[in-house]
Amino acid sequence: MTGPAILLLLAGLGAIAWVSARARALRLQTVARATGRRDAVHSLPGYHGWYVALWTLIPAAIFLAVWANVVPGLVTQSVLADPAAQSLPLDGFSRSAILGEARAIASGDQAGAFNPLSQGLVEPYAQALNKYGVAGGVLALVLAFAGGAYAFTRIRPDFRARTRVERLVMASLLIASLIAIVTTVGIVASLLWESFRFFSMVNPIDFLFGTKWSPQSAAMGYGNDDAFGAVPLFWGTIFIGAIIAMIVAIPLGLMSAIYLTQYASPTVRKWMKPTLEMLAGVPTVVYGYFAALTIAPALRDFAVAIGIHGASSESALAAGLVMGVMIIPFVSSMADDSIAAVPQSMRDGSLAMGATTSETIRKVLIPAALPGVVGGVLLAVSRAIGETMIVVMAAGLAANLTVNPFASVTTVTTQIVQLLTGDQEFDSAKTLAAFALGLVLFIVTLLLNIVALRVVKKYREAYE
């Protein structure tokens, strides 16, 4: 029996369980109503239906999930017990290659064998697969029936099916939210593990404070010393994401927020705000295009024209400017929220003193909204330093430690992309460096986010 067939069958069983349980509860309800007690049946018939259906499906589903993970091991064991397996080589790699091929043929994914040894194992494999498949299917169906029958016998007028179903709904919601958390933990764990391996090859001090970044030379056998100094990358990231981009995004974002909250008429606001927020929806690769093909060459020509040395066709300025534009909606919508959250009474108070609108904005609204604005800027910075596509396309690969905005610099994210694209061996320091960089980036953005959210939260409470 194949997997999809079993699942379909189970779904059918669940539907039958729902219909029949509901029908039974309905009958009970009718009987109870006839005796004149309308509260005689605790839960609505639909809840009884769900209760029985869930009892039919969930145990069987859990069993199948576990079974799917256990079966490959069992199958391999039984194949190895077959006389045909005695001739297999003992060496692990070729052995598992042969087994894999036999399995692929047996399950119909592959037409013929390259290795004659695997041809002999196809038959035992097919048998074992079939055996365990049927066993699993039968067990699942038995479980479904058992669960359904157990639940069905519990349908009584005073049975609290609704409470049980509600509890189950809650549990499933909890699981849904746990999945996101568990995934995060898993990612962090893998980052930590790979970084740990990297740091066993490269001294963390050299990594964090070294100023020479040339992983290629390390890969070519010149040794790991001095090759993984990440300071140029950190500098490039900060230069582009936290300095140039913010010089663009903070004033523009703040001013547009002020205009939208204080000056714009409702009609203008209705059109401008969504338009501005559309900027945030443009795929970053499009910005990357724009930065690499339009802005960067223009800046290079400009720099050459005014005689700046070291101007490159990929520059920190191009990437930073475009990233700044991309970030504007983040800053402006956070600033917008926090300015709008300053109570109207504060504004009235200032206007009633004879202050003009702009005095009120400068002296009352902005100071009062400042924590929220700062929180927004921190979130924007954390977004900017994690941004990849624009810098990959427009910032360049040369790990220069320079303050010349027209020169090419590289960032943490760009280097991660460089280190991990293409075929890589996962035991060299060069590849593992990507994980260490990822870890640093993760920690920094996490801290920025925590600080930003705290600041914003504290501020929100101030006026409530």
Binding site: S265, P266, P343, S345, M346, R347, D348, G349, S350, L351, A352, M353, G354, A355, T356, E359, K363, V364, P367, A368, A462
Partner: protein, 265 residues
């Protein structure tokens, strides 16, 4: 339209500080004030009373053009300050609001220090020549607001850390600091406890004569306690205006009488 009868003869007073003539206020299509004429004098506290939604706060806000901040609001008629029409194009609203200060229903100190709250207005209008000058203004304003003794040792603490009553006196001090001629108070005690309310009322007594004070209140006892003249508003009309003791002991209009005796409101 309420007929203009001899009962409303008290409408005008000698030497008015501000006078309104046939003032109508619209919010979009809706008319909130239906032709109000009234004089406000320098020597007494004027109370506006009336049930919720009667237009008394709306009318108060026309006196320093705070309705300008409401996009849909439109004001017709004439309001003068010392004989000068405040809705004339030549009138600078910034100057007007410096002369006609306002205290709001809920204390709304800026999230700045006590000192900075008071210094805010003088700084905007350039009233202080230097730090020493500003110190004098701050102390004088806080003294007049009856808050100096309580806060003189912590002038640089945040204004929002004060109690509600102190905050409201801070807001009064803030309004006083720009040397206004008229102070409008929009239910200044409605968010305060009875003790804080008593302090504000006492303060209003002390400020009388120095400023023309107009106070909107829900509380008829308060109107009776603090004011010398009372105007009763109902459904956008000014029903009756006169000496406070007359209004409360001998109302001429049926509606006023009903309101004061608690028939509605």
């Amino acid at each position: 339209m309420t007929p203009m009868t001899e009962e409303q003869i008290n409408l005008t007073i000698d030497n008015p500080k501000m006078s309104a003539r046939d003032v109508k206020v619209f919010y979009g299509e809706k008319q909130a004030i239906k032709g109000v004429s009234i004089d406000v004098g320098m020597d007494h506290v004027t109370a506006f009373i009336g049930p919720s939604g009667c237009g008394k706060s709306t009318f108060l806000r026309t006196l320093n053009r705070m309705n300008d901040t409401v996009a849909s609001a439109r004001v017709e008629g004439e309001i003068t300050l010392d004989g000068e029409n405040i809705y004339a194009p030549s009138m600078d609203v910034v100057q007007l609001r410096a002369r006609v200060g306002m205290v709001f229903q809920k204390p709304n100190p800026f999230p700045k220090s006590i000192y900075e709250n008071i210094a805010y207005g003088p700084r905007i209008h350039g009233l202080a020549a230097g730090k020493a000058d500003m110190d004098v203004i701050v102390e004088k304003s806080l003294r007049r607001a009856g808050l100096w003794e309580e806060v003189k040792d912590r002038l640089h603490d945040s204004g929002t850390a004060l109690s509600g009553g102190q905050q409201q006196r801070l807001c009064i001090g803030r309004a006083i600091a720009v040397e206004p001629e008229v102070i409008l108070m929009d239910e200044p005690c409605s968010a305060l406890d009875p003790i804080a309310t008593a302090k504000i009322e006492e303060l209003i007594h002390e400020l009388r004569g120095r400023y023309a004070i107009v106070i909107v209140t829900h509380n008829m006892q308060q109107a009776a306690r603090v004011s010398q003249r009372t105007a009763f508003f109902h459904l956008g009309d000014l029903v009756e205006y006169g000496v406070t003791s007359d209004i409360f002991t001998n109302p001429r209009q049926e509606r006023t009488k009903d309101y004061i005796t608690g028939r509605y409101g």
